[in-house]
């Protein structure tokens, strides 16, 4: 039988426990509802692709009570454009057909999280894949019957460099390999496509033609309300903005919640840029440079990166002006210097000793035509023919460099093939050491895809009596 003092001591312990639990619950509730950093509640670290968003749970968990559908919508909100044909060779529509119900029973391919589960670093492979590498076997186990060249190959080698990419297979499918099988290492006229912005201004309905007609401005036209520094004036006057009629007020007069009329601001943010360059700003927000800003977090800084960075750049914030300093907005600076100011991995550090850089220098000196040089941006922020709407496309610099990054076969069509043939590109991108040397030397890897595609085609034509 317990004594009175024993019962009293136990009661006190219960009260202490209850009070502590209540305090802890209140503290957690406060952090959950008001705290900026909610990583305390994370069940595990995020994958490298999303690690920047650790402090923004609601970027994906848009509804705290939502389930799979909420997460799926969150995935598609950022990655949806890349999950459609022709970019994606396994789009949702392929699996929504009832005739593929047996395949869905094997693997639920309509849900992103089936292959890309977050917070599970122990099973997360390259590109955020959380399925075993041989997942293709679920639907393609009989592939050798259609393609004898694949007989005996292991299914965990499907996504080897130069072979297959589950999503973006546009440079790797059979007909593309065959079409480009004889392309030379270096094309006769290696050249990047020219950007289309100025040439299409008349067709941009969202462009403020009424306020800023495309007419070259002179120094006396500058509409800044206060005296302006001479260097600023000079920078503005000698760049594309003044030449296209973009006056000071176009960027510096910003909409303000407290006033019906826009107010002057000395430091316009990306909202100022997006008035005319909305697509560039939007794409910037989809990539690793701008995803924090797009999610409402403080800008990304190199110190938060998982890649090697220059220590002196640790605290630089990534905004439009980080790479395009006002008022020159020099694209040459943005294409190389801005990158190398921060990035310090082997590939970046080797760039200035590369043939690519040599060509870039010659372009800057005017010895080669525009588009002949190879800058960092020339490959990693490629000039793509982007669908601005259902009815119009334009060649623009894709500021979502993550869309063109990994697996590196995604770079082939957008970047490599402007200058190199497909066989050389496949081999070069499969050679990790060569990449680290920034392509100084020759590829030591030999990708077999093109030879296998040719073998399969010959067999098929012999069987049916057709011709290539």
């Amino acid at each position: 039988m317990m004594s009175d003092s024993g019962r009293g001591g136990r009661k006190t312990l219960w009260l202490v426990w209850l009070g502590s639990a209540l305090l802890a619950a209140l503290a957690l509730a406060y952090i959950l509802l008001n705290g900026e950093n909610q990583t305390l509640f994370m069940p595990g670290p995020l994958s490298p692709g999303h690690h920047q968003l650790a402090a923004a749970c609601d970027a994906c968990h848009t509804d705290p009570l939502g389930g799979g559908d909420v997460l799926q919508e969150a995935c598609l909100a950022c990655h949806g454009d890349d999950r459609k044909k022709p970019v994606d060779s396994h789009p949702l529509v392929k699996f929504s057909d009832p005739r593929n119900a047996d395949r869905l029973a094997q693997i639920e391919a309509t849900r992103c999280v089936t292959c890309h589960t977050e917070h599970r670093p122990e099973i997360t492979a390259t590109d955020g894949l959380t399925q075993p590498l041989d997942l293709c076997v679920h639907c393609h186990r009989d592939i050798a019957a259609d393609r004898p060249s694949h007989a005996g190959m292991r299914f965990d080698t499907c996504k080897d460099s130069g072979c297959h990419n589950y999503h973006n297979n546009r440079a790797l499918y059979t007909d593309f390999l065959l079409k480009h099988q004889h392309a030379p290492e270096l094309l006769e006229q290696p050249l990047l496509p020219a950007r289309q912005f100025a040439t299409l201004l008349d067709e941009f309905v969202e462009y403020p033609h009424d306020r800023y007609p495309v007419v070259a401005l002179a120094l006396e036209d500058a509409d800044a309300p206060q005296p302006v520094d001479e260097e600023v004036k000079h920078d503005w006057l000698t760049t594309a903005h003044a030449a296209a009629g973009v006056n000071c007020s176009a960027c510096h007069l910003a909409a303000n919640a407290e006033s019906e009329t826009p107010l002057w601001t000395d430091h316009p943010g990306q909202q100022g840029c997006s008035q005319c360059h909305a697509l560039e700003v939007e794409r910037f927000g989809r990539g690793r440079h701008g995803m924090r800003l797009a999610t409402g977090l403080a800008p990304m800084t190199p110190e938060q990166s998982l890649l090697p960075m220059q220590p002196q750049a640790s605290h630089r914030e990534l905004t439009c002006n980080s790479c395009h300093p006002a008022h020159r907005f020099d694209t040459a600076t943005a294409a190389v210097d801005a990158c190398l100011d921060c990035h310090a991995d082997a590939h970046s550090l080797a760039y200035k000793a590369s043939r690519h850089h040599e060509l870039w220098q010659r372009e800057l000196k005017g010895e080669l035509s525009e588009g002949s040089g190879v800058s960092c941006a020339g490959c990693h922020m490629p000039r793509i023919d982007f669908d601005v709407s259902d009815w119009l496309s334009r060649i623009m610099v894709d500021h979502n460099q993550s869309a063109n990054l990994s697996p590196n076969s995604k770079m082939i069509r957008n970047s490599c093939l402007h200058c190199h043939g497909l066989p050389f590109s496949l081999d070069a991108l499969a050679d990790r050491d060569l990449i680290d040397r920034n392509f100084r030397g020759r590829p030591q890897a030999q990708v077999r895809s093109i030879g296998m595609a040719g073998d399969d085609q010959r067999r098929a034509l012999e069987k049916t009596g057709g011709s290539p």
Partner: protein
């Protein structure tokens, strides 16, 4: 720069579905007008087949074979070419699947398949598809109707013969490097349209 191409097929199909209750309303079962899955499938097929025939004859055959001003290619974006009639059909089907997903009353799917497919993904897969495609190849001019269960859902499945109506249909299939059959003639059954309407779990 390019102009994005769109299919009018999906819109036409949606219009057909909307109009079915007027065209074939059956008032016998209570007071609510209703149509049978077979009638719905037949009507859908009529729209699909007409639209594709118009596209094949008035656009592809005219511009490619007759006027010779452009080519048609399965890699139409890379080749700056016209979309193949079979692709136009499939793109419409994919758009319908996407739009119909949120409309249980008009949720149906359709596809173009063949016993001799250029793309092996378009070979018959289910038992009903295999039987249906064989039936329409063996019984010229007849359709095939059956019920089947896929993924726990019952479907009314109809298979309609797909006839080579223009020289481009026949020449493309006979000459394509991946074609398993090379002796098609105009008027031959080259494949079948499979329409699937869910009947419930």
């Amino acid at each position: 720069m390019k102009k994005a191409s769109i299919s009018i097929l999906a819109l036409s199909v949606a219009a057909a579905v909307a109009g079915l209750s007027v065209a074939t309303a059956d008032m016998s079962a209570g007071n609510e007008p209703s149509i049978t899955p077979k009638v719905m499938a037949d009507a859908l097929h009529l729209v699909m087949d007409s639209d594709r025939t118009v596209y094949t004859q008035k656009i592809v055959n005219r511009l490619v074979k007759k006027d010779k001003v452009i080519t048609a290619s399965e890699h139409f974006e890379d080749e700056k070419a016209l979309v193949l009639p079979a692709q136009m059909f499939r793109f419409g089907s994919e758009l319908v699947a996407q739009r119909a997903a949120d409309k249980p009353d008009v949720n149906f799917t359709y596809s173009l398949q063949s016993l001799w497919p250029v793309n092996r993904q378009n070979a018959p897969k289910t038992e009903v598809e295999k039987a249906g495609l064989q039936f329409i190849a063996d019984n010229v001019g007849q359709n095939y109707y059956a019920e089947e269960e896929l993924g726990g859902t019952k479907y009314f499945t109809a298979v309609y013969p797909d006839i080579g109506v223009a020289p481009v249909c026949v020449s493309c299939h006979n000459d394509h490097k991946d074609s398993p059959r090379r002796d098609f003639k105009i008027g031959d059954v080259m494949g079948g349209v499979v329409i699937r309407i869910p009947l419930g779990s």
